[in-house]
Symmetry: D2
Subunit: 327 residues, 4 copies
């Protein structure tokens, strides 16, 4: 009997990764294609399907690809597999039947999921959360996303939005978020939020190393630059990172009184800002959470690297297929 494998697709704004992943989360084959996100959604999906079919047809002998999972950076109707809101894509994905199109073109059962939820599943099965039964993951990047694991399983809720931690209210009278709410975490602690704070410091003539590092060019300010400046002791940069961390900690204290998890995993590109961010998150949590013994919560960075997206989506496909939800 052949070994079962699953296709995982990690749809990104610039590139899309596709991989064949075995049942233990090992990548057997991988491929990266340009997304060319400005095109119509159907075109993007067609390219993905074509590459997926190519990978499927070229798998090692004895491996059989059973299903495909795709991670979407945005809101989706996960049951129907239809796009709702992809913030970093042109607004042409709304109503597009991603699942049906991919199923038609690949002849595989397809499971659609939010991209960070998929990464959370990967961390649970093969990364930081292997040995816990409950955990939450927060991924800090261009936006802030997350996922919830309960009783050892990824829990996505009624509409698939369990884990949308970027939209926890941290400043009730704060700035308007793209979502419609005021004061969302994402508007205070994402990468762009940190960059915006640095830009504010620059235009207000604050004394900071960031100015020299970008040679006065506002376009060159990134979370990485801020993290580097903080590493060199720059007070402005340190305050920016610290405030972001405290806000994330505040959000986590809310998350903890709702699901009281064993473990918190912090991931996403901005999480590489380093120790100061982690310490501030922890401090923010400790200052606000008294309903659970904070020191017994496991606190870990994400352990999986660039493959987390494809591994997570393939694993989601496997689990949905195994349970008979798809296929």
């Amino acid at each position: 009997m052949s070994e079962r494998a699953f296709l995982g697709v990690d749809l990104g704004g610039t590139n899309t990764k596709i991989a064949v992943v075995d049942k233990d989360g090992k990548v057997l084959q991988r491929s990266t294609i340009p997304t060319r996100a400005m095109r119509r959604a159907e075109k993007v999906i067609e390219d993905i399907a074509q590459e997926a079919v190519r990978l499927k047809e070229n798998v090692t002998a004895g491996v059989s690809v059973e299903a495909l999972g795709i991670g979407i950076p945005g809101l989706i109707d996960w049951k129907e597999g239809v796009g709702i809101l992809l913030p970093n894509f042109p607004n042409k994905w709304k109503g597009v039947p991603i699942k049906r199109l991919l199923e038609e073109k690949t002849s595989l059962p397809v499971a659609v999921i939010n991209d960070v939820r998929a990464i959370t599943l990967a961390e649970k099965r093969f990364g930081a959360g292997r040995e816990v039964t409950s955990m939450v993951m927060v991924a800090i990047g261009t936006g802030i996303g997350g996922g919830v694991v309960i009783n050892g399983e990824l829990y996505i809720g009624k509409d698939g939005s369990a884990g949308e931690f970027g939209h926890i209210t941290v400043e009730p009278q704060g700035v308007r978020c793209g979502c419609g709410n005021r004061g969302c975490l994402e508007a205070y602690a994402s990468g762009p939020a940190m960059v915006a704070s640095a830009l504010r410091a620059l235009v207000q003539q604050n004394d900071t190393l960031i100015r020299d590092m970008v040679e006065g060019d506002l376009n060159r300010v990134t979370p990485r630059v801020i993290a580097e400046a903080a590493g060199k002791g720059d007070e402005i940069a340190k305050e920016i990172i610290m405030r972001a961390g405290l806000y994330i900690g505040q959000a986590l204290s809310n998350i903890c009184v709702v699901v009281n998890p064993e473990m918190i995993v912090i991931g996403g590109g901005v999480a590489q800002a380093g120790d100061l961010l982690f310490e501030s998150i922890w401090r923010g949590l400790k200052e606000r959470l008294f309903m659970a013994p904070v020191d017994t919560i496991k606190f870990s960075p994400a352990l999986l690297g660039m493959d987390a997206g494809v591994v997570g989506t393939a694993t989601w496909a496997k689990e949905q297929w195994t349970k008979g939800v798809i296929g």
Copy 2:
């Protein structure tokens, strides 16, 4: 073969209710004893055990009592069944082995749980939540508590504190809560918080019917008085209830991005403040939650009455006993 039943105990600050409950949540026998909360915890527990034993020994022929569940108004180490913090009791319950003492004195397996979590379970099995697989309940009274149902089961988390919604931060720079945090929901939307707002209006000479209703006596202001004044159109009273509702809605929006439930149930004594409170909660939620289609969330008052506590604790005992966690 005899029918199985379970003892449910609802420990209150004034009275404690004890009942024999069948597997379908029907109360077969009930009893109420004075708690006399100023005594040592062991004494309180002894009285409860004695009455429980009396009920058990007098059950209808053919009924066999298998286990006892007790609901505690506060924080407990639910695995060990040891008290941590009971805000409305003298501070003598900390470290008291409630479970062990009750087991010794009743010769029954005992399951200890937070009181609002027990009510949540009762609402799930026999009340508002019968037909949903996920729900959250918020109970607004002297404090604000809650519970989480996921995949059809009460979910209490690592330490039993999943559902401590009263400690969601709604005003990050707000007043210090008894728990140690600043700006907890409980400090802004509980019964005492509403009373405090009314007292503020009274001492600041605001024009309100409440003054006449209590004949100028500050000691007589209660949530019920405020609700009555609001019902008569008093602007101050209406604003107090509305602000409390908006804060609860804000907290619910946070809860919803964490667990994205099918249903929200609102209970507790203060929930009887009526339509204005419910409308404000709903408005607060709608203003802030965009990650889930708010109009598809089922929204219900708690349906069970005064027996919810004993039914919930008995049912918790049944489920823990059936799974072999106790007994």
Copy 3:
């Protein structure tokens, strides 16, 4: 030639003080009559006029009473001497021609002024501010009022409202003030605001000496009780006073960037809360004011006692009469 003297009237909610005051601020005769504030304004004014005339007719030989000043606890049209808003009086003073009625009934020129502005003038001429040319006074009582001295003269502005410091915004999204604004200083740092904070602590079951001191009777909580509890080390009481002080300091920092005074005088009944209040005001000011060297600002409690009101109003009458504004 006879010595000139002036009548000063200090209209209070309970009693009204009337005195004959010489040009050096010395009280020659004094009288106190019950205000009976529930009556029509005209009746109250009639009683005042009658007593004023009696005093005038009985002055020491060689003294001639030239004019009368009256201090009103509220907003007035000071040029016309007509009442606008007296918060602690029934709403019958609006539009009442106080000045004209008193002039008719006493046959004296009459100057009408806000009561705290009058006290500020008294402190300038005969109290804490004798040697400065600019000062502001803040009086903390049932409300919060104040006054401004510039170039050695009381400065009351276009409408007489220069000095309405109780309505500086200290919490932009804060509670609605009776005036219509949100977050006024008066709603956060007046006597009733402190009492309201203490009542909040009591109904929320916080651990405080205040409960015992009032034997559980909410009606007995006063700023004095809070000050006493703070003096005994009660943390809740200390926090209440400290927060009020910090808010006053914040308001003062705003006042200082507007008029940059030589001296700040703190008066009013609540100022007797003592050192902790003064220290907190000072700390609040120092934390926020960097546009003037804080340590060079003279900072003093009000030095005049119970007579400040009559002395201030009589002195205001003297100065208006001397300048020919009245008479």
Copy 4:
């Protein structure tokens, strides 16, 4: 007898304007020299003195220059004429005896004053405030400054800082200002603050015309660009201007309860953002000020153009010289 005239100097970050101004505020001669602000303060002063002497020596026959006034963009010890803090200059002006150096090099009596205070005086004598006896001016530019006119005279307070309206606290828990305080108006409503808000919108991918107008180059965002975008109906730009205006209105409501002026004058480069800014300032004021009849406050843009600085400083020199304070 010769006609008296005065030199006015308007020290700017890029250029410095110098003019001979007659007693009626008319500019008789004018000159502009590059400031070259990176040099030592003494060098800058030397160039100014040299040009001032040149102008003085070349005045029209029959005109005699009696004194020189210089406006400094920052904090100064105005009595001694020594620099304290010039935010937009390298930190070499602290302790520099500006007055003494200029007096030595020009052989004229010199009066040193904050630049916006000088403009306020110019507006009082020759601009918007000619017919009022009390007014405040707010100038919105790189920073936010102001001035106070009382009893027909510029009032600068004990240290010359009466009018530092940019440091009124408008967000008590807000961002740290360069001055040391939190939540200063300047950090929320100055030109750089508006630019920072626009940059935030750009990096957070908000939908705004500003992006196209600057062709994606963050360095090109200016208050003028924001005003233009708002003029074209851009919602983001309109919100930025509106929020700035509301904050200025909030600060003005505080100013009004302190000095209750007849007139408010709005000037500075950013004031050219137009009607939306003015309307929002007015709305912010009306929402918060109830201690004075807002509709009776005169509200005007600054009327003097580019010469306001030299006219104001020359006039300040004239008034100080006439009173014998200098000379």
